[in-house]
């Protein structure tokens, strides 16, 4: 068995949650709604800020498109970076500044938009500007929601995430974002698996019943060896006792 394959198999067999594929890629749990009733798109602005003096001044980077209905989900649409922005980004990267993004606190469920809109407040995250430049603007934005689908956090990482100090010569690489958007909702933590355990025990018992040979106890299986051995020991022991008694007496006598 190949080593990596084995690991995956054993992990899934272990009935534990492997969170490799747990993130719902740009997909939101809206299927319950009858689709055609409310098919209005809703967009949430994504803003970013990168300044030499590190004072955040957020500008529009793009927007999250929330769609209701059967093909519900979240996608990101964003424009190209302007010439000016590109040069600023490179300058910020050179002084080890930060690239920040922020999204407003909203619910990702389109039908709930009306409820908690006027809440205000933003969720912010950052990445080193140099990492963004060196990765040629390929980043992963993750939106975290709570159990009700309300946004609680945002995170941004670049792939690769390092700052090696490489020069990005080609301006074209910094023109458009290559963004992967992930929406992460909380997973349900497992309960103690009593049912599975009992089923396994049952199976074990059934197997034993089917195979009576296995069920026999140790003594039942090997009595033909044990009985002669015990007999032999007893007989030799009886002999020893008569001889041993004398010997013991002598030993005691010697001790005095």
């Amino acid at each position: 068995m190949a080593s990596s394959g084995a690991a995956h198999i054993s992990m899934s067999v272990l009935s534990t949650i492997t969170l490799l594929f747990w993130a719902e890629f740009a997909h939101c749990n809206l299927n319950r709604r009858p689709s055609d009733a409310l098919d209005t798109d809703f967009s949430v602005p994504v803003e970013h800020s990168f300044e030499i003096d590190d004072e955040p001044r957020f500008r529009r980077r793009g927007s999250l498109e929330l769609r209701a209905g059967r093909e519900s989900g979240v996608t990101i649409s964003q424009s190209h970076l302007s010439e000016e922005d590109r040069s600023t980004l490179k300058e910020v990267a050179a002084v080890d500044g930060l690239y920040r993004i922020r999204v407003p606190r909203v619910s990702l469920q389109v039908d709930r938009q009306t409820e908690k809109q006027a809440d205000g407040g933003y969720l912010t995250a950052f990445v080193k500007a140099c990492a963004l430049v060196e990765s040629h603007l390929s980043d992963v934005i993750t939106l975290h929601t709570d159990v009700t689908g309300y946004l609680i956090g945002v995170s941004i990482v670049t792939i690769p995430g390092t700052c090696r100090g490489l020069e990005v010569e080609d301006e074209v690489d910094l023109e458009s974002f290559n963004t992967t958007l992930i929406v992460m909702a909380p997973v349900n933590a497992p309960m103690p698996e009593t049912a599975g355990f009992i089923a396994a025990l049952e199976m074990e018992r059934e197997k034993k019943e089917k195979n009576p040979q296995e069920q026999k106890s140790f003594f039942a299986k090997y009595w033909m060896y044990i009985v002669p051995l015990v007999l032999f020991l007893m007989m030799s022991g009886a002999q020893d006792q008569s001889g041993g008694g004398n010997g013991g007496g002598a030993a005691n006598g010697g001790g005095r």
């Binding site: 054993s10 992990m11 912010t124 995170s155």
Partner: protein, 965 residues
């Protein structure tokens, strides 16, 4: 066959885990101290001369009996915590002690000799006001209980209710006092504030109201605070505004008005702004109180007065200055004990007769105040008659720092108890310093080189000192060997403290809720120093940090205690030497603004002290210590210093970065809406934790790498909706630098209180399963996968791939009080979880049982990996209890510290009791056993050596002979 194998494997695990204390090891490595808490009521048992019992009821809802000769506990009854178990009053008569519990919920009568329960009755609901014994014809037969609206009579012998009557006008009148002098009626006194006093006389036999009168008293607000009954039933009150005493004879037929006696007419004066206090004594509830009483006129001014039959008050003796005064009765004699300050550090206690105020000869006891202790707050006198009929006494002094000191004439401290230790809030363990000679050697390496010759000379001199101390040690051994063993005492004092070979003995620095700090030797449990911090608000939050360890000789170790007032948020620092308890002279930063967060950086100043940063509510940073060197270091490292703040009222977690000018900037924000769930706890990892193994070797010899993020925070939330189906517990793993949510999970149908441990690459939490009504454990483990992203260094900024999270849950068959994990020097030893149970046991649960990779079924590969097959229930084995029968009541916290031995972890459990022990999660693999057979091994070695010599010789001879042939 596979079944057999399975069984065998299980047996193997059991063998591996079995690790209990042998009978002869009991008390060898562990100790326990039992406490009762701050004393509220204390009575000396007086019914016989030889009695040595002291009955106490405390703020911790404990009723206990102490041996007054030794200070040890005879017995102790621990009631529920909180207002439900609060002891309202304690009445002692003869061998009966009556306790009213939980705002008049229950009344219990205890037998004082063995602490057995005589009876217990449930009282009618209602706000408890007061209770008293009622005597009839020289015998105490009843207990009268006054509640908000009713008075009830109970037999003292069996607790049965004799009668219950409503109190008239209970919505306007505050009934506060009950009085009886052994005649046929009992008087209940109430007051309508600033209007009048109500006196109701009940017939003892049937509860009939005999008489009901009201007396004008427009100046009075509270009976309890300003009035006592003295003499033959005379109500005596004091009014600080008119500066006068009022008397009212309760037994006379016509109660007209209160008789006013101006204090001025007695030549007395109340200290400005002081509420005068009256103290009277009624030695036997079946007899009227005595005619003498104390009047306290100022913080240090008591007067012994007497009220004669004609209602005239005479001054018997004026005690000025005097700190405390108390009455004591032995047999027929009643005396008064008065404590007067002698000088700054000592007080003297004297006895006086109460009928004349004459000082009794030879009754002086000197009480020495501790240099860093609290002031005396209460005095309890135990009087006894000597053979020549003179009065002798012992005194117990209670101080503000919750300490009890028991004194005997002429001033010998018989025992003292530090009851502040019943409420330890946080602690640290600090290495002991090296001995003087070891330190000398260390110092030699520490200093700068100053020439070859000087260094040689220094080395020679230090070697000489070592030799000298070794000879001294030998001499001491030889000297002690001649003495009988019992006389050889290794007394531990601060001077003789030194680190032992394996660093198993440490200094426990304990911080208590009262603001008293203790230094306790971990080996013996003896208190080596104590320091009382005055002016600590109750409910303050404490954070204890070790800024400099003992390792930097000649710089003394340094601990910093951050005390934060919960209400105002203002904080103060107390810097001290953890070995000697002395306050450091270092200049402290001023903290005018509330402090939100403190962080101890791994950076050190030039004196090897770690830098402490304090962030105030304007996000300004204060560094301590703060000098040029520190500021320069901070500037250099500023861009890599991140910190987080948690505001649980808004559900906001925010991250900040330090700027070069020590200002901060907000860099990330996560907001968990408080309408759905509220943050209950946030925990990072312990900074002194070491992880030895980067990964886990799997059954097929591949390696699963752990996700070891030192900045990871575990955030636990609880749902605001407490409905059984909808309640949940949320678990968030958030990176404290980037604010990235690494993992987010909800445990459905669960409720707190959640206890959890966050360590290495795992989080273990415990919750209450609402649906199944049981306690469950869940474990989360994080793995990077089969290969590491960057194996040399971990950076939160450069880990783009989220870790794999494995989780599994188990049923735990007991409720738990607290949870902690063992900690060892290098992290090689396997981990155990230490679970404090409400039953008082401390369970050492192998982490192996809480492993999300426990397989279902018994696979070949998982056997190879030593994984236990999954079972939904975690076992509790009796041999896992590390405190065998030494139960730790109300365990609130467990502290673990590594020792110098990799196999050994030091454990301290604190709650009402203190318990210290050592645990060996992987057994003592690096120590030879106690019963190791040195003789055998050395004789075998010697034998082999000689055998080789002889055979070599023989072989030579043989060779020689062959050569000659």
């Amino acid at each position: 066959m596979s079944w057999l194998k399975y069984g065998f494997a299980v047996c193997l695990y059991l063998l591996q885990c079995t690790d209990a204390v042998f009978e002869d090891q009991v008390g060898k490595f562990d100790w326990r101290q039992q406490y009762v808490g701050n004393v509220r009521f204390a009575f000396f048992e007086t019914h016989s001369q030889a009695s040595k019992k002291l009955l106490v009821a405390t703020e911790q809802n404990i009723f206990a009996s102490l041996n007054s000769r030794t200070g040890e506990l005879f017995w102790r009854h621990v009631d529920k915590t909180g207002p439900e178990g609060n002891i309202d009053t304690l009445l002692v008569h003869g061998q009966d002690a009556v306790v009213v519990v939980g705002n008049g919920r229950l009344m219990r009568c205890w037998e004082t000799n063995i602490g057995g329960l005589n009876w217990e009755v449930v009282l009618d609901p209602g706000n408890f006001l007061t209770a008293a014994f009622v005597g009839v014809q020289d015998h105490v037969k009843y207990v009268a209980v006054i509640k908000q609206s009713a008075i009830s009579f109970h037999y003292l012998s069996n607790g049965h209710q004799k009668w219950i009557e409503n109190l008239p006008d209970s919505d306007t009148v505050q009934y506060q006092t009950v009085y009886s002098d052994g005649q046929g009626e009992v008087l209940v006194l109430g007051v309508v504030p600033n209007s009048h006093i109500v006196v109701i006389a009940y017939n003892i036999e049937d509860g009939e109201i005999m008489k009901q009168t009201s007396v004008e008293a427009p100046w009075m607000s509270s009976l309890e605070e300003s009035c006592v009954v003295v003499g033959e039933g005379v109500l005596l009150c004091v009014d600080p505004i008119t500066m006068s005493l009022y008397t009212l004879p309760l037994n006379s037929e016509t109660m007209a008005d209160m008789n006013q006696i101006l204090l001025q007419s007695l030549d007395l004066e109340v200290a400005a702004g002081f509420q005068p206090v009256l103290t009277a004594t009624q030695p036997n509830p079946a007899h009227p109180p005595l005619a003498s009483f104390f009047l306290q006129l100022g913080p240090e001014h008591h007067i012994l007065l007497n009220l004669n039959d004609n209602g005239i008050i005479t001054t018997l003796r004026d005690f000025k200055p005097s700190r405390l005064a108390a009455f004591a009765t032995s047999g027929e004699k009643t005396v008064a004990g008065v404590m007067t300050p002698k000088n700054e550090t000592a007080c003297s206690i004297n006895l006086f007769t109460i009928d004349t105020g004459r000082r009794l000869l030879d009754t002086t006891v000197i009480f020495h105040l501790e240099p860093n202790g609290g002031k005396p707050s209460n005095l309890y006198i135990q009087a006894f008659l000597k053979k020549d009929d003179s009065v002798g006494y012992r005194a117990m002094v209670q101080t503000e720092d919750f300490a009890l000191t028991f004194l005997q004439q002429p001033g010998r401290v018989v025992w003292s108890r530090e009851e502040a230790l019943a409420e330890v809030v946080t602690m640290e363990m600090v290495d002991l310093p090296l001995t003087g000679t070891q330190a000398e050697l260390e110092g030699e390496f520490g200093k700068k080189a100053d020439g070859l010759l000087a260094m040689v000379l220094k080395r020679l001199s230090s070697q000489l000192i070592l030799l000298q101390s070794w000879i001294g040690h030998l001499w001491k051994l030889f000297y002690d060997a001649r003495k009988p063993r019992s006389q050889v005492k290794n007394e531990i004092t601060i001077e003789t403290l030194s680190r032992d070979e394996f660093n198993l003995q440490k200094m426990m620095v304990m911080v208590t809720a009262s603001g008293k700090l203790f230094g306790i030797d971990s080996k013996s449990g003896s208190i080596l120093w104590k320091h009382y911090l005055e002016n600590i608000q109750p409910n303050s939050a404490f954070k204890l940090m070790v800024q400099r360890t003992t390792a930097h000789f000649p710089h003394p170790p340094q601990c910093t205690l951050l005390v934060k007032d919960q209400e105002t948020g203002l904080a103060s620092l107390h810097v001290f030497n953890p070995i000697f308890g002395k306050k450091s002279q270092i200049s402290l930063p001023t903290l005018p603004r509330p402090v939100l967060q403190s962080l101890l950086l791994p950076l050190m100043d030039q004196d090897y002290g770690k830098i402490l940063l304090l962030i105030d509510d304007q996000y300004k940073v204060t560094a301590f210590p703060s000098n040029k060197n520190v500021l320069q270091q901070l500037q250099e490292a500023a861009s890599s210093i991140y910190f987080y703040l948690v505001d649980s009222s808004q559900g906001r977690l925010s991250g900040f970065r330090l700027r070069k000018d020590l200002s901060t900037e907000l860099i990330w924000e996560v907001v968990i809406p408080v309408e759905v769930q509220k943050i209950v706890a946030v925990k990072g990892k312990r900074p002194n934790e070491h992880v030895h193994s980067q990964g886990r070797v799997m059954g097929d010899r591949s390696v699963l790498y752990k996700y070891l993020n030192p900045n990871l925070l575990a955030v636990i939330t609880e749902s605001t909706d407490s409905h059984q189906e909808r309640s949940f517990v949320g678990i968030f793993l958030i990176d404290g630098v980037t604010g990235r949510i690494i993992h987010e999970a909800v445990q459905r149908k669960a409720r707190g209180p959640v206890h959890f441990v966050h360590s290495e690459n795992w989080v273990v939490y415990e919750y209450w399963n609402v649906k199944a009504r049981r306690v469950e454990f869940s474990v989360l483990e994080l793995f990077e996968g089969m290969e590491l992203y960057n194996s040399t260094v971990f950076s939160s900024l450069d880990r783009p791939h989220p870790p794999h999270v494995l989780q599994q849950s188990y049923i735990f068959p007991s409720a738990i009080s607290t949870l902690e994990a063992t900690l060892t020097e290098k992290g090689i030893t396997s981990r155990h979880l230490l679970v404090g149970l409400p039953s008082g046991g401390i369970l050492s649960l192998p982490k192996m049982y809480l492993d999300p990779r426990r397989p279902e079924g018994n696979l070949e590969q998982s056997r190879e990996e030593n994984l236990i097959p999954y079972a939904p229930e975690l076992p509790i084995r009796t041999e896992w209890f590390i405190n065998y029968n030494q139960t730790v009541s109300r365990v609130r916290g467990i502290f673990t510290a590594p020792s110098g031995l990799e196999s050994t972890c030091l454990v301290v459990a604190y709650g009402l009791d203190l318990f210290q022990t050592r645990v060996y999660p992987s057994k003592q693999f690096d120590v030879l056993k106690d019963d190791y057979d040195y003789v055998l091994i050395s004789s075998v070695l010697l034998g082999l050596f000689f055998a080789t010599m002889i055979s070599k010789r023989l072989a030579e001879v043989k060779l020689l002979n062959r050569a000659w042939r």
